[in-house]
Each structure stands twice: as C-alpha cells, then as structure tokens.
C-alpha cells in the first residue's frame, strides 16, 4: 500500500521536481558531511567526535558518551591528561589517561597510558604518531544506549586481546612486570557508530525544522540490543583464545 502511494507521488513529478528531490537528499547528506569536515578543520583532529564504547575509563567516561576532541600542535601533552590515540594498523582509537612520558634526545616521545577503570595492568606504550587530545569537554554527554553492537561485531572488532608488547626491546623500564609479554588493551571507540549517531541526529534535526520536502521514507539505522557484557569479557584475563 505504502509503496503504491509513494510511486504515485513520483509519477506525478516532472524531471525537474525529481531532480530537486534527489538534490534535497544530497543536501542533507552534504550538510552533515560539511559539519563533520568543518569540525575536523577547526579541531585539527581526524575524528573530532567519538563514541566511548567500553567502560575502561569509568567513572570519567561511561559507555555511550560522546567525546569532542581537539588536536592543537602547540598544546603539549602532559601526565594526567586523557588522550585518544590510534595505533598504526588498527582502525579503532583508544581513550586512556597518560601515566608517564619518556622523551629521548632525538625527539622520540613515548607515552604510557592506562584506563581509569582497569584493575590490573592494562596499559600500552605508543610512539608519538597521530595522537589526539581531548579537550576535557564531554559536553554534551549523550547517553544513548541503543547503538551497542551485536555479539558478532563486538567479538570481532571491539574486544581484542593482544599479547605482544610494542615497546622497544632496548627500553629497559617499560613499567610492566611481565614485559615483553602479556600486554592487553581494549578498543573502546567505534568511528562507524559515531557516524551513525551523527547521521541520526542530522536527520532528526532536519525533520524537526522542516516538514515540507520530505517525501522520502528515510530508512532508520538498525538498532541492536545490548547483549554483550563488556566488563565480564574484559575482566577475563585468563582467556587465551586469540580473537581476531
């Protein structure tokens, strides 16, 4: 029934009106895109808004919070600040707090980071490549719990356990009792879901402020129920199965 009405509307349009409807849709998408790119330019970071996925930074950040990031070259990173970083070869960024900074004479800087909420040793050495600093503004704090991933996705992408240490063998003091083995970290931010959230917000705003041109039925992005208990998976240190 619904599809027949929709087709009737389309048939009644001439070429220009059809093109205008297509353009309208394009403009919505372009507006969201331009706002995103604009934020990228202003803040200087590749991913200015990210969604927190795991609870490793509680009570500072909870799952589902949106974080605004900036990356100003002139601001140095100090101990105690929260940073969001991405490791080469891995897609998903990580948000942790800086514990120690090692600076060599040739300019190489290494950071020791750790999540606030992790009971044991869950920290990582990262060379100074592409690090993004959070401007302690979790403003606004969106607590949207409907986008958590399905079991499959969470196993595959978001929870990974690694056992290699990425610090240099020459580095004597990397702070781990079990150096160079058994370093574990969590991926806790998902850029895909961020984009999904932004698109939903953009569509929602468009619908609020204009009623007239939406002859389209927009597909809403699929909702997934939260069936994964991150805490239990993260805490399961004795799990030796390598999940990729």
């Amino acid at each position: 029934m619904l599809s027949i009405d929709f087709l009737d509307d389309v048939r009644r349009m001439n070429k220009r009106q059809l093109y205008y409807q297509v353009l309208n849709f394009g403009m919505i998408v372009s507006s969201a895109l331009m706002i995103w790119k604009g934020l990228m330019v202003v803040t200087g970071s590749e991913s200015p808004i990210v969604v927190v996925l795991s609870g490793s930074m509680e009570p500072a950040f909870h799952r589902g919070d949106l974080l605004f990031l900036t990356n100003r070259v002139e601001d140095p990173i100090r101990v105690g600040e929260i940073v969001v970083f991405r490791i080469e070869g891995r897609e998903i960024p990580i948000v942790h707090r800086v514990l120690k900074i090692h600076e060599k004479e040739n300019g190489d800087i290494k950071f020791l980071t750790k999540g606030d909420n992790n009971a044991g040793v869950s920290a990582l050495f990262v060379p100074y490549i592409g690090i993004v600093t959070i401007l302690m503004n979790d403003y606004p704090k969106f607590k949207v719990s409907w986008w958590t991933p399905s079991q499959f996705l969470s196993l595959k992408l978001f929870i990974r356990h690694h056992t290699e240490c990425s610090c240099n063998q020459d580095e004597i003091d990397c702070g781990f009792p079990t150096h160079p083995i058994n370093h574990k970290y969590n991926h806790n931010i998902d850029p895909l879901q961020t984009v999904g959230v932004l698109l939903q917000i953009a569509f929602g705003c468009c619908r609020l402020f204009s009623g007239a041109f939406l002859k389209f039925r927009f597909l809403s992005l699929p909702y997934c129920l939260d069936t994964t208990d991150y805490a239990s998976v993260v805490a399961n240190r004795h799990d030796t199965s390598h999940m990729d």
């Binding site: 331009m34 990228m40 330019v41 041109f213």
Partner: protein, 202 residues
Amino acid sequence: MAAARNGKSGLLEKWRIDEKPVKIDKWDGAAVKNSLDDAAKKVLLEKYGYVENFGLVDGRLVICTVSCLFAMLALVWDFLHPFPESRPVLACCVISYFIMMGVLTLYTSYKEKNIFLVSLQKDPSGLDPDHMWQLSSSLKRFDDQYSLRVSFSDGKWRNFREAEFTKSVSTFFDDNGTLSMDQFEKSVSRLHDTLASDKKTQ
C-alpha cells in the same frame, strides 16, 4: 522506428498519471499546498496554453548542485590526500558550502518568494514581446486559508497587475482528500479573467 517510438511513448503515457484525480492526505499541509499549486499550474498551462519558463527553478537547482559539488570535492580530496595535508582544501570547501547555503536562502527568500510558476503568453502575431503570468501562493502551517496570487506583466507596455484570492482549502477538497478540479479551475479561471479583462479595458 515509428512503432518503437510509439511503444516508448505509450509506456511513458502509462507512467504519467495526469488524468487520475488527485488524492492526498487532507491533514498534510505540504501535500495540500503542493497539489493545489500543481492544479493551478495545470489550469494555466493547459487551458490557456501558456509556456512555462524555468528560469527561477533552474537558478535554484544550479545553486543546490554547486553546493553538492563542493561537498563531493571535499569528500574526494580528503579521501585521496588524508587529513593533515587536505586541511586548506577542506577549509575552503566547507566555507564555500556555507556561503552557497546563504546564497540559496537569500535566493529563495527574496528572488523566488512564493512564486511557483512563471509562464509566458506567446503573442500570436509574433511581433510583440510575450506577456508574463506568474503564480504564487501561500498556505500557513496548520492553517486552512490558501491564497493564490496571479500577476500579469505586459510585455509591451510594461504594466504590472495582480489579483489574488484567499479561500479555505475545504472548498476544493472533499472529505477523502480528493481534489475537485472543477471547483478549483473555476476559481483560477475567474482570477485569470479578471486580469485579462482589465488588460483589454486598458
């Protein structure tokens, strides 16, 4: 060749449903206004045989297309040259995009106003320049008063006249949301003839 062309136009005829009576949701303000505007356009174009001029609409389409092109450019450039290098290009694209949005808003507010049809009445003798008939309408949100304004611009003597009527949409739609074309056509024609007769007396 002729058979193929006839076949194709036959398909096109079946696709276009101009002859079916228009039925819309009577509570949807946008659909009501759109259907009334379309019907007014039909009256002017088919009954009086005027030729539609697409200048205004094309202007808006061009502005929108240019904005989308800026967005595409930003997307493609950022994809080819990852973020830090693409920063100046991105900044330009974003700023241009928002400038185009401003231009579009100005265009729709001041140049287009509520005009949805610009049509030309061709002079049969071919000597005088064409007369221009414009239709504009307004229907406030959640209101039922629809006003249609017809303006006439004489090609030769540069006169400008306009007439309008404001009626409730319930006079044209029945309970099911079907537009009664006869009623509407009568109102529009009456409006048109007022202007046309004024032209003759002057």
